[in-house]
């Protein structure tokens, strides 16, 4: 011990604090991941127990799908009562339904986890195992519920509003230097401006900055929220990525110059090739945002599925000895997922900027084609 103290005493102060910081960071990170793994594990065990009322085999696929898909309540864990039956414990979320021109609003707890029918006027609502709400009398139902994904997104929106409006206010009035939170926010904003918008869009980048910045941080924060145990798989939902990709499609095509549309409708090919080329070009217009949609959806969902699969290994093997192995892999994949969360936000924004830049093409560059 004295020897260690001695060597420590000879370490430069900065090096000492850096190594201490690294240690604390690693410790906190590992602890968090350990607990995240644990809570997933408990999720799994509950799902397993609840499904095997008759000693059924653990169904990894349906369990994983259940976690990857959207839900009408925010499931936290299950509790076992004295009889040994399991009761899911979850945060109820508002159900908003539009049926027969009537708006019905109630909490998801009214369904009692699928066991009860909710009567509103002449309408009786039921929910199935997959979270589909149907009307018993055969009326069509439009579901605008605040689902787990929507709730998670609203939290992300709130976080974004707090972080960035506060960031914008944390500038020193006289010198214009960033203070506090702006010191973190500004480099990220400048990254989007200098490494995404300007290289791909060029001089007209300013008009597109609000969309690119919002998309980048919206996707990133939602990706990160999805990595929190019990979190929602918001950015891994096809509806979400389709919506975001649709915005890029709209912005791209509304910014399209004459040259851009000229490429689509009057390509530089012999006239007899037009019947082939025009449809191909039109497919190209739609394929770009579809690629965006699928890329984000697939990456994020795949990450969630990998982590859940690794946790499921414990239950598939029915052995606690599997836990350290699975958790080791989960730790590793979680680190990668942290990277992927930022990377996919970057890729989505980068490609959006690239498509916008292509749509802004001027005739001068056209001569090269």
């Amino acid at each position: 011990m004295p020897a260690a103290l001695k060597t420590n005493a000879f370490l430069p102060v900065s090096q000492l604090s850096a190594s201490r910081f690294a240690f604390i960071f690693t410790f906190v990170f590992c602890t968090l991941l350990f607990f995240s793994g644990k809570s997933w594990a408990s999720d799994q065990s509950n799902a397993e127990d609840s499904s095997k009322t008759g000693a059924e085999e653990f169904d990894a696929i349906s369990t994983i799908l259940h976690h990857v898909l959207d839900n009408h309540d925010w499931h936290l864990f299950d509790s076992k009562d004295q009889d040994g039956t399991l009761h899911p414990v979850s945060i109820p979320l508002p159900i908003i339904l539009l049926s027969e021109g009537q708006l019905d609003v109630f909490m998801s707890s009214a369904f009692e986890h699928g066991h009860a029918t909710v009567q509103r006027g002449s309408r009786a609502y039921e929910i199935d195992n997959h979270g589909h709400i149907t009307e018993s009398n055969g009326h069509s139902v439009l579901d605008f519920s605040i689902t787990k994904n929507v709730a998670s997104m609203l939290i992300a929106v709130l976080l974004l509003l707090i972080i960035f409006t506060r960031g914008a206010k944390s500038y020193d009035a006289s010198s214009g230097r960033p203070q506090g939170i702006a010191k973190v926010v500004e480099p990220l904003v400048l990254f989007v401006r200098d490494d995404i918008a300007i290289p791909n869009i060029g001089d007209q980048y300013k008009k597109y900055m609000p969309y690119l910045l919002t998309a980048f941080f919206f996707i990133w924060i939602n990706n990160l929220l999805g990595l929190i145990p019990t979190g929602a798989n918001f950015t891994g939902n096809i509806s979400v990525t389709a919506t975001l990709a649709f915005f890029t499609l709209l912005i791209t095509n509304f910014s399209g110059t004459k040259t851009y549309w000229g490429h689509v409708f009057t390509p530089h090919v012999p006239l007899w090739l037009y019947p082939i080329m025009i449809p191909v070009e039109m497919v190209g217009v739609v394929a770009k945002p579809i690629a965006l949609m699928i890329r984000l959806f697939a990456n994020i969902t795949a990450g969630h599925i990998i982590i859940l699969s690794l946790i499921s290994l414990i239950f598939v093997f029915k052995s606690l000895a599997m836990a350290p192995v699975a958790l080791g892999f989960v730790l590793f994949i979680s680190c990668i997922e942290l990277l992927v969360a930022a990377l996919q936000a970057y890729v989505f924004t980068l490609l959006s900027a690239l498509f916008i830049g292509l749509a802004l093409e001027q005739p001068a560059t056209d001569a090269h084609h």
Partner: protein, 165 residues
């Protein structure tokens, strides 16, 4: 598995709504102020750099101006020094000339005065000698005229002396 790629209208609506509201709120309260602050600062920095460059140039031109001024002053000083040396030489030579002249004039006067004095002294001596001679002659005449023989002897002696002269 099919549910994975089934779009959900509710989620689409909520996402669109939230995203658009978020974008418009952040555009006004975050992106615009942040980007403007950054741009303003960039401009300030660019302006400061330009000003520094200008100041540097100005200092350069000032120093070259100063060098030119220094060179001019040096030239002028040399000129003045040269003039002063010339004047000094002139004054010295003039003074020397005048002094020589004066000295020769004084010498001349002195010589003349000496000559005059000498002439006066010579004249006086002559006069005195003549007077002495007359006095002597008077005395001799007074004492020795009674005794003829002695008179003759004296005259003879005197005459001898004169011969000797």
């Amino acid at each position: 598995m099919k549910e994975l790629i089934q779009p959900n209208l509710g989620l689409v609506v909520w996402t669109s709504l939230s995203f658009l509201i978020l974008m418009f709120v952040l555009r006004k309260y975050a992106w615009k102020p942040i980007l403007e602050a950054v741009e303003e600062r960039d401009q300030k920095i660019a302006q400061a750099l330009k000003e520094a460059e200008n100041a540097r140039k100005e200092v350069g031109s000032l120093s070259s101006e100063r060098d030119k001024l220094l060179a001019d002053i040096k030239d002028e000083r040399d000129q003045i020094l040269a003039d002063a040396a010339k004047t000094r030489d002139f004054i010295v030579s003039e003074a020397k000339h005048k002094a020589t002249e004066e000295a020769s004039r004084i010498l001349e006067t002195a010589r003349e005065a000496i000559h005059n004095e000498r002439m006066a002294a010579v004249t006086e001596v002559r006069n005195m000698a003549a007077k002495l001679a007359i006095d002597v002659a008077e005395k001799v005449l007074g004492n020795h005229f009674a005794d003829q023989a002695k008179q003759e002897e004296f005259v003879r002696a005197e005459m001898d002396k004169i011969k000797l002269n």
